[in-house]
Symmetry: C2
Subunit: 208 residues, 2 copies
């Protein structure tokens, strides 16, 4: 049983991180805290295996190096046995190093963290590595979401729109198939279904 804690003041981000953990960990429960006092309270009450901390908490100056590291240090000292991940909105290699020296196992920039990538980070730190992920805008992509699509349909559409020019649809079906552990024909089915829905709505993006 894994016990994880997410310390982050932005509600939607905290919920998103908690959802990522839920999806990535089996047999776990995930707690969330919005402030440093609440985090300390939880860490005193209970033992955690994994703690994700955003150093920019309310009551501290998010632009102050000292304040940010103080938050990280406080959390790490309150749970010395846990694996600590620092997740931040800003992007600073020096701060990453400082966090590492404080005992953190990973330093991740929110800008470079996409859905489903947290498990990769966890695998990395399981191997004993320090995982550092700075902002990555080379892979910047457009997003499109259509409410009437199911998750699978959304997924294959996103992959299709983000594919490199020249890549055949078949290849994308195969890619999704291996990634999702399903049949390539099923991926194709989802794509067709999604396409049909968008056609009916008259909202088919260019490049189909």
């Amino acid at each position: 049983m894994h016990r994880a804690l997410v310390v982050e003041d932005q509600n939607l981000m905290r919920l998103a991180l908690m959802a990522e953990l839920r999806a990535g960990l089996r047999d776990c429960y995930v707690a969330g805290a919005q402030t440093l006092p609440m985090a300390k309270q939880l860490l005193d009450q209970d033992q955690f295996d994994l703690v994700i901390t955003d150093p920019g908490l309310p009551g501290f100056d998010p632009t102050s190096r000292h304040d940010r590291l103080h938050v990280v240090e406080t959390i790490i000292e309150a749970a010395p046995g846990a694996a600590h991940l620092v997740v931040t909105g800003s992007d600073d290699e020096d701060e990453a190093l400082a966090c590492r020296l404080l005992g953190a196992r990973a330093y991740i920039c929110k800008t470079g963290l996409s859905q489903g990538e947290l498990p990769l980070v966890l695998k990395q730190i399981d191997r004993g590595e320090f995982s550092i992920q700075l902002s990555d805008l080379d892979t910047a992509k457009l997003d499109l979401r259509f409410p009437t699509l199911t998750p699978r349909e959304d997924e294959i559409l996103a992959m299709m729109m983000h594919r490199n020019t020249g890549t055949k649809r078949r290849a994308v079906f195969q890619e999704m198939a291996t990634k999702a552990g399903i049949n390539a024909a099923s991926a194709e089915r989802y794509y067709k279904q999604a396409r049909a829905k968008l056609l009916k709505l008259g909202r088919l993006p260019e490049g189909l």
Copy 2:
């Protein structure tokens, strides 16, 4: 058909905002952009009814008043016909006013924005009001998420744990019933189911 755009560089936050829009709007499609150039490209290609912008985009200094307002101004000028919401991580009443003068219809702090609250903001601006929502930590609550629970079970558990002391469970069932448009007995059923699952896991929080 509503067309919405979310301009935000943090992937998880952008997806969360897009999900909020999907849940809150009927017959809409939602696009996302990670950078200002991508946002401009989308705004030039297509017309949007609603644009949500985080002024702290890559390539700009998130602590610089000038840079932040420049982002907001650029976006608003690129889509003068849309309703513009500014969503930010920092908390600044002066900046809110400046955004209002630039033509924004709402200024929302991420710290104060919870799941399901975006529709309330949209209703407000539909009435022609300027919606301002600064950080709100009075209502700071603990979060707990258990992976084995269904959304409904999670929902009623969260409401139950966040209820004011003295409130009867019955009242919470009724509250969820009216909010979700279901039967109070069903809410009670979800609560019981959730409780049973946590009991089996030996992870029942205090206060049941």
